[in-house]
Amino acid sequence: MSSTDRTSAVAAPRLGAGAAVLSSECDGARGPGWLTQTAPFALHIVITAAPLDLGAAYDAVVHPSAGAVATFVGTTRDSHGGRPVSRLEYEAYSPMALRQLAAIAGEAWEASGRALTAVFIAHRIGHVPVAEASVVVYASSPHRGEALAAVGAMIDSLKARVPVFKREWYSDGSEPAWKANAECGGCRIAHAPASGAAAAPPSPRAEAAPGAVGAHRPADPAAGHAADLPAAGLPAVDLLGLPAARARIAQLEAQLARLQR
């Protein structure tokens, strides 16, 4: 699919009862896009190649009936694992990312006892220099507890299951590396015997690689800490049921919390 393909509307994600006035647009599978709804809570989601506008995020959620605005801003850090980072590069499967983010916001709204007034989530794609924002999550509610909890839950869910992909670039000349979030379920495609039912070579660069599917090891050791995370004692999640993936995420988060104590 080329970046000029235009998806005029993204199908409505599953939201709480009464979701209304949800509209969205996406510039192809990988381009910028947006999604907005006005009820049952105000929701704005943006995927953009432009620098993120924190003022616009605040304006989108501040409301006379809300006494609290909680925020999270994720920014590019200048080092990772002792290596100097020059910038991060993001790409998104944009239509799906919009749907996932809307679903995540809907879940946060439900979890808050439907107390959220408004949610704004934006993710930048393309290159994001050090100390610039790659992601913002803002929420408002009548009292602070719901908004604070919702922001934490939404950024955790974003990191676990929204199809956005990050490559880290270094200033010491080392090869840039694709990353994997520790929160990512890390599901694996199970071994599937090749069958006559499916056919046709997919790639001119194809080469025989027996056992490639389902090999229980990280594809790329440089792909980040997630691969090294507590694989021990946790069963590999085969061919991703999403419920299983979510359960694994919860397990990993609990394990991480214990390790951090």
């Binding site: 499967y93 990312a97 790659s134 956005v164 090749a194 499916a198 070579p201 690689a209």
Partner: protein, 94 residues
């Protein structure tokens, strides 16, 4: 054999980078499951290519690739003889 269906595999991140393209077209029998389809492709991809990947169809994660057949996807999307399947490497947003 019934007419083969064109399946577009959308590639992202590491996958797109390693093949140098963002889409791979494959032909599949309507009776093939997604798992069989990927199994047939795997031997022709670089080693480890599919490790840690998820599948998405219709912009939702596919819960049961061993059960979803190409023909059911055709029916579900109501499209012509073409299906789009996204290969989602480990996500790293935020």
């Amino acid at each position: 054999m019934s007419a083969q269906v064109s399946v577009a595999l959308l590639l992202f991140g590491r996958l797109r980078d390693s093949l140098g393209r963002d889409t791979v077209e494959v032909l599949a029998a309507p009776s093939a499951t997604l798992q069989e389809l990927l199994g047939a492709c795997a031997a022709r991809f670089p080693a480890g290519f599919l490790d840690g990947c998820l599948l998405a169809v219709g912009e939702e994660f596919c819960d049961a690739p061993a059960e979803a057949t190409v023909s059911t996807l055709l029916d579900a999307t109501g499209t012509r003889q073409a299906v789009e399947v996204a290969l989602i490497p480990p996500v790293s947003g935020g």
